[in-house]
Symmetry: C2
Subunit: 144 residues, 2 copies
């Protein structure tokens, strides 16, 4: 993660955590806000990351459990989890061999919930689909 995720993680940390730049009171603050908001949404703009969040939104899971639940590779899952953790969205706790991740920022789940409900409302194609969406939307968050 030394090469190219570092700068990105830094931005995303700003998106989802308290911003520490308390010397900036110029007109560029709005730019800063848009960057922060954009970074926030960016974390949610990837299907794999949404899957991952979906798999841990109601309970903490180990990486291998998330891998099984998402159908993605261990490598890819680990990457995304690192990004989400850097951004403060997920919590991380090692337990022996296993590392467990859970939701740290419940705002993420609630935002996803809102969007999924809306998209479900628009997708009339399949009742099973809507059911899955509502299930997704109905899950509570588990603070880490």
């Amino acid at each position: 993660m030394q090469r190219r995720r570092k700068g990105e993680a830094s931005e995303h940390k700003g998106a989802a955590q308290e911003h520490g730049a308390d010397g900036a009171t110029t007109g560029d603050e709005l730019a800063e806000v848009f960057a922060a908001v954009a970074g926030y949404f960016h974390l949610l703009s990837d299907p794999t990351r949404l899957r991952i969040l979906h798999s841990i939104c109601d309970k903490h899971r180990s990486v291998s459990a998330i891998v099984a639940a998402t159908g993605s590779t261990q490598t890819n899952v680990s990457r995304h989890l690192a990004l989400l953790h850097q951004a403060g969205v997920v919590s991380r706790r090692r337990d022996g061999h296993a590392v467990f991740y859970g939701i740290a920022d419940p705002e993420f789940v609630s935002i996803c919930r809102g969007v999924c409900i809306r998209i479900a409302g628009r997708i009339e194609a399949g009742a099973p689909l809507k059911r899955d969406l509502l299930e997704f939307a109905a899950h509570g968050s588990s603070p880490g």
Copy 2:
């Protein structure tokens, strides 16, 4: 827009408009939903687009007005507006020389509102910043 925005616009259209795939009742529907949700968030994951939406969230504006309000280039603004329009987020109306854009999908504004409020709550650095955010969040939408 023939070369490379077409495929992307297609996905984003799916994100923000009614999905017409009514033959798909397989287990891949969840993948479809995540893709749609991700596309939805993706539209909001760019600062320039957020600026643009900010500039039209309380009234329709011409492209040049948006260009002036956002400080971005006409080219870039036009591009982003095309994307947002393709996705059904903004409305478009030509009036003589000028083309006016406004919010077509108020869900976008309300989602932005929620996120900005949350981010504002976390940014303790500057009172002017928070004020701008609340102003942004407080704007009503103007359906196109």
